[in-house]
Amino acid sequence: MPSNKSVSDAPITQFINCSILREHKLQREDLWVRGGRILDPEKLFFDEQGYADECVDCEGSIITPGFIDVQINGGYGVDFSQASDDVSGCVSIVAKKILEHGVTSFCPTLVTSPPAVYHKVLPQVKVHSGGRHGAGVLGVHLEGPFISVEKKGAHPEQFLRSFQGGGVVDLMETYGGLDDVAMVTLAPELAGSESVVRALCQRGVTVSLGHSVANLSQAEDAVSSGASFITHLFNAMLPFHHRDPGIVGLLTSDRVPAGRTVFYGMIADGIHTNPAALRIAHRAHPSGLVLVTDAIAAMGLPPGSHTLGQQVIEIQGLHAYVAGTKTLSGSIATMDMCVRHFKQASGCSVEEALEAASLHPAQLLGLSHKKGTLDYGSDADLTLLDDDLNVRATYISGEEVWRKDP
């Protein structure tokens, strides 16, 4: 059949035999892609009298928008906070491997580091689109150093900082610049944080609260100034208390400005958060839940002993211990594992589990007009899953970038 493509000559792909996540429901519909974007087939039919050039048989797969990981510290032996000379090469190694977990975009995360590390690493990590080479980089997540000493967790105490220079000055001095930074985690109780939160939000940087001993009121003030995320809820913050719920109280706070949502990251690996706590958070505020891996360099490495930097880590199943101890050294779950575990532990629907890893992080970063959904016009970043939510194939901009061996 001759084609009348009045709008574009780009080839049109039709994904058939699939269930797609659209309007918060899995629907048996075909998915159409052209020029790396989701296409409206009805418009194609009536306006252009066009049709598909290529059909991809998905064999009954679920198609979800590609997963977005906004907190990942490394993997496969790579640590993003290491000041190597080939940072972008290291980021690429991880970017390529996480395609296998259905992740199509991510925020490489740097933990608290000395300014020298930021000055060396940050200029080498640029926002860029994904493709065969790996998942796209949406920007860096800077977790620290403006955090609370009491809740430093595994962050090195000697590099923690406060806003003694007045706020924004300290940011620029420490980080060197904010280009290509997508998110900053800070403790809002630090003096001078308000102007920092406002300045960051004005630059389009997402501000997250974490590693903090803030009470609910301080947290709410930060949200009023523009903060919109909570870094790994429950971990590295004051526990919920019924007379001062602390940062956890943001989930049901009535001081969140109208029209805004407070999102919160959850590491749903079954280890960092008790499933009952996961359920409490989910039930209190389901639309704000964002699945993150918070994966460390040991993620993706086979079971056994590995030397990472100055540490020896032992991997047993989903646990990564400091060798010879039972001290957890970080998370090594992959994003697809987190999605499966979250669904099973919370009893939520498939759609909710998928949206926690795609739509919600996109909304958090203000990208939901082009990422995190299968709406017409969105980037065609797709993850194909079987009914048990195992990844079968991954697509970026409509191009297959990974497929599981049969």
Binding site: M1, E42, E48, Q49, Y51
Partner: protein, 275 residues
Amino acid sequence: MRLVILDDYDLSSEWAAKYIRNKIIQFQPSADRCFTLGLPTGSTPYGCYQKLIEYYRNGDISFKYVKTFNMDEYVGLPRAHPESYHSYMWNNFFKHIDIDPANAHILDGNVDDLEAECQAFEQQITKAGGIELFVGGIGPDGHIAFNEPGSSLVSRTRVKTLAKDTIVANARFFGNDLSKVPTMALTVGVGTVMAAKEVMILITGAHKAFALYKAIEEGVNHMWTVSAFQQHPRTIFVCDEDATLELRVKTVKYFKGLMHVHNKLVDPVLSIKDQ
């Protein structure tokens, strides 16, 4: 006229779909010679479309060389609106089959010059060689397409203002809010459908029974425009039991007695796999 009476909605939908299938396959459409099909919208033909999609999925029929002409479309309703007839046809038929988009013709109710659109539609039908089989439904007020009571029985494609009955009947698709229902539509005329080689009217449900009675047991009357097909050489009415409730027992018995003859039109049912 042939009056084909099946027990229920599903069986009548299936009979109609088999008839259309056989007609298309017998025609042996090709690139130089398309089968032209007139099509309706609404809840009545839905089951028939479902069966046709099933036949396509099983590989028994192809719509590659079928040209379709829909009967009508609302005026002023955005094409992407879920209740537009474009949306209906896309979601309930076109997106599931292999029809060439260039062969699917539906009137556009959003152009500036509605009259020119109507004339162009008539010309497209002529250019396609006329309609082989026009499938239609019937409104509770006996209308065919949007040829409301009082429409000329020799009318052609034009703009029509909808009757109150029709607007009320359509309200259920617009959240039962009468103010949201379009008041005008572009429609093929009674004459346009009469010009087809063959006409098949689908009528199901007790609420259509009185209209069916008026259409076939009373005279030709512009107040019940479907009655015009009494003067067409090849008309088939396909209905379920409920739609016959207002007919004379004698009429129903006569045509039920002819079912063994009618069924020869759908049995054996043909398939392109055998060609």
